[in-house]
């Protein structure tokens, strides 16, 4: 009986590893969408001049198609949802471990993620198929110790992946695109206005820079300096409602200006701009629609070009 049970268990374990491999290979085969982005970021060898770093604000605000057409550079958007400075740094290091060092990093500082001092890797199951990138595994397991187990143990990782991973994998194997896959272009995710038609003011909050987040901003600055990368800190546009939502925005911006001054790098505060009053440019107080992002990237690209002419 024991022998029988052991044989069944063995078959089950082999089966579960085989199924997981089937799912992950399929995911990595995606030619569009978020998984194609992660594949490019963590597994491919790239040679981009400019990379955009940050949270979902960076991901949805910087459109490489427009930026490249104005500046003549070759850019990629490394923004990932919910990225604190620590996660952004981990993503940057994982990217650089496989790709050539970029010449410029545009780091969009998201006020929401400066104040917590706690790292939660948002949508963490999305990273599972890319954990063969040792830097990514090392960095993420430093943030969430379960990542080592997620890599080795399918019984731990598969329940988190669920049907979504299977669907994405089948898309990859069959070569079709999913519902939102076509909204991605070189890491940039465009948001269609109608998807989030209501801009609501949430509970007001006081922003500040948590010492731990400050430490990781410094790490990104040092990393850029060591690798001779030009780093530009940016705060991309916010809707006028953000002024009511964030009670001490000016004070936080002042702190960021000080950080830039101390480190002799650029900080461009573009949070309050000409588009800040237009509702159809924003999906909520902190995220722009594809229409808003197009205009913002255009303006940003001109600034970027002028900055280099000045330099």
């Amino acid at each position: 009986m024991i022998k029988k049970v052991l044989i069944y268990l063995l078959f089950f374990i082999i089966g579960i590893y085989a199924v997981r491999e089937f799912i992950y290979i399929g995911i990595r085969k995606n030619k569009h969408g978020v998984y194609e982005k992660y594949n490019t970021m963590f597994l491919k060898k790239n040679a981009y001049d400019v990379v955009f770093l940050g949270s979902s604000r960076a991901e949805t605000h910087f459109n490489p198609r427009i930026f490249d057409s104005i500046t003549g550079t070759f850019s990629y958007n490394l923004g990932v949802t919910g990225a604190t400075p620590r996660i952004a740094f981990a993503v940057l290091k994982a990217y650089c471990s496989k790709s050539e060092m970029p010449k410029h990093i545009i780091f969009d500082l998201d006020f929401h993620f400066l104040k917590y001092g706690i790292d939660t890797i948002r949508h963490f199951p999305r990273y599972f198929p890319f954990l063969s990138n040792q830097t990514l595994l090392k960095e993420f397991s430093g943030i969430d110790s379960r990542f080592v187990s997620f890599k080795c143990n399918p019984l731990h990782s598969l329940p988190y992946s669920n049907f979504r991973a299977l669907a994405a994998s089948l898309h990859g194997w069959v070569g079709v695109t999913g519902k939102y896959d076509t909204t991605y272009y070189k890491g940039y995710a465009s948001v269609i206005f109608n998807e989030f038609p209501h801009i609501k003011t949430r509970r007001p909050f006081y922003g500040f820079i948590h010492p731990r987040e400050r430490q990781y901003i410094d790490s990104i600055i040092n990393f850029s300096r060591q690798n001779h990368i030009n780093l530009i800190l940016v705060t991309s546009p916010m809707f006028k409602g953000a002024e009511e939502e964030m009670l001490n925005k000016k004070a936080v911006i002042k702190q960021l200006q000080n950080i830039a001054k101390i480190n002799k790098i650029e900080y461009w505060d573009m949070s309050k701009s000409a588009y800040s009053n237009k509702e159809d440019y924003f999906t909520d107080n902190f995220h722009m629609t594809s229409k808003g992002a197009r205009l913002f990237t255009l303006g940003f690209a001109f600034n970027f070009t002028q900055y280099f002419h000045r330099k």
Binding site: V19, L155, F163, L170, K179
Partner: protein, 421 residues
């Protein structure tokens, strides 16, 4: 505390009844206490909340803190109350003697695998097993594995995935057409069956680890060809409980013909109302009562009539779907909208397009595939064809089910539907 308290009281009452001391008084005390606890949790809280809400609204002093919403109904309250009640009533009916030791009775009531959602096991069936089994020495590993794997598959793969299609429809009935409501109703039929019977399978499987055999609770009810047949196959332990302790207490069939029909009707209405303080449950009970009686009348008028089995199945599934729409509706108003769409203003615009778009086209087809798997397995079991599957292939099937559990199962800890009852 509640379980311990009611069990102690029932144990005491049963001892008194068994000793012949004021038998009727102690039986009434036990029944009233148990029903009272059940009533307090199921009806008092929602009714009190309703009045507090109305009062606050009238006085413009709205505050959520004042509601009794934090009072949680203990999981499986009904099931262990029913078990406890069956014990005192059986002792009163002198079917067996009261337990000598309190811990024996407490073990019977609190045997954890089936405590929260059945099957409801009678004292005379469970207690002898406790007394003879040698724990961990005679474990039926094979049946433990089969039952738990299939139970978890039904719950986490079939029921929980179907709920992702069903819930949005019932939460927003105005946005879906007749066909989609009907489809959601049918998927809910499968969801409830898989959710509830999945728990029973897991409970029965886990009990095998202790050498305990729980009674058969489900006999493929979705393959029934009439409502009569359905109620002999669906959650057998609770159906027989209502038969033995409610229907028979009302007089059963030893009364006039009309009274007999009324007894049947009352059993269905009470079993509907037992689900909670929502009129939709009562409507569900009334529908089943009426159709059940209708079948009796047909049988009486044409005793030799036998419907075509496929037509019979279609009739049962259609009625069960329509009645479970009432069961699942969030309010009588929602139910009115759905029945209006189903019976008065039929509309098939866009087909089932909205329901497909709820999640993902692939997800929708996967759900249909899962429903198909369920019916194929049930049909194979019904025709005993499952035995003809080669013995060496059977473990492979269960290994595949277990793998599927990890790949497409929903691990978000959705609680079992019947935990709330």
């Amino acid at each position: 505390m509640l379980l311990f308290g009611t069990s102690a009281f029932d144990y005491f009452c049963a001892r008194q009844i068994s000793n012949g001391i004021s038998k009727k008084t102690f039986l009434v005390l036990s029944v009233l206490t148990n029903i009272g606890v059940l009533f307090a949790f199921k009806y008092f809280v929602p009714v009190a909340n309703y009045f507090i809400y109305e009062y606050n609204r009238a006085e413009c002093m709205w505050s959520e803190d004042e509601l009794l919403s934090n009072l949680i109904i203990p999981a499986g309250l009904s099931f262990y109350t029913f078990q406890s009640l069956s014990y005192t009533i059986d002792v009163y009916r002198e079917k067996y003697k009261a337990a000598d030791k309190f811990y024996e009775f407490l073990l019977y009531v609190s045997f954890f695998p089936h405590m929260v959602a059945g099957p409801i096991v009678r004292y005379k069936d469970l207690m002898p097993q406790f007394k003879v089994v040698q724990f961990f020495k005679s474990i039926d590993w094979e049946n433990f594995a089969k039952l738990t794997i299939w139970g978890y598959f039904k719950k986490m793969v079939i029921a929980d995935n179907l709920s992702k299609l069903v819930t949005p429809v019932f939460n927003d009935v105005n946005s879906f057409n007749s066909l989609e409501i009907l489809l959601a109703g049918f998927l809910f039929v499968v969801q409830v069956y898989c959710d509830f019977s999945g728990y029973s399978d897991i409970a029965t499987g886990v009990s095998k680890l202790f050498g305990i055999n729980l009674s058969l609770n489900w006999r493929r009810p979705l393959l029934s060809k009439s409502l009569h047949e359905f109620w002999t196959r669906n959650h057998i332990s609770i159906t027989t409980w209502f038969r033995d302790y409610l229907y028979i207490s009302l007089g059963g069939n030893r009364v006039t013909y009309v009274r007999w029909l009324l007894n049947i009707f009352l059993v269905f209405v009470i079993s509907g109302a037992w689900h909670g303080a929502n009129l939709t449950f009562v409507i569900w009970g009334v529908m089943h009562g009426v159709v059940y009686i209708f079948e009796i009348l047909i049988q009486k008028k044409w005793p030799h009539y036998k419907a075509n089995k496929y037509l019979g199945w279609l009739y049962l599934v259609s009625f069960h779907t329509i009645s479970l729409i009432a069961f699942r509706a969030l309010s009588v108003n929602d139910l009115g909208i759905m029945y209006d769409k189903l019976f008065c203003h039929l509309s098939f615009t866009n087909g089932i397009g909205h329901i497909i778009l709820i999640n993902d086209r692939l997800f929708f087809y996967l759900c249909l595939f899962l429903v198909m798997i369920l019916f194929v397995k049930e049909l194979l079991e019904e025709n005993n064809s499952i035995l003809s599957i080669k013995e060496k292939l059977r473990p492979v099937t269960y290994i595949l089910l277990l793998i599927a559990l990890f790949v497409i199962g929903d691990f978000n800890a959705n609680e079992f539907i019947y935990f709330q009852f």
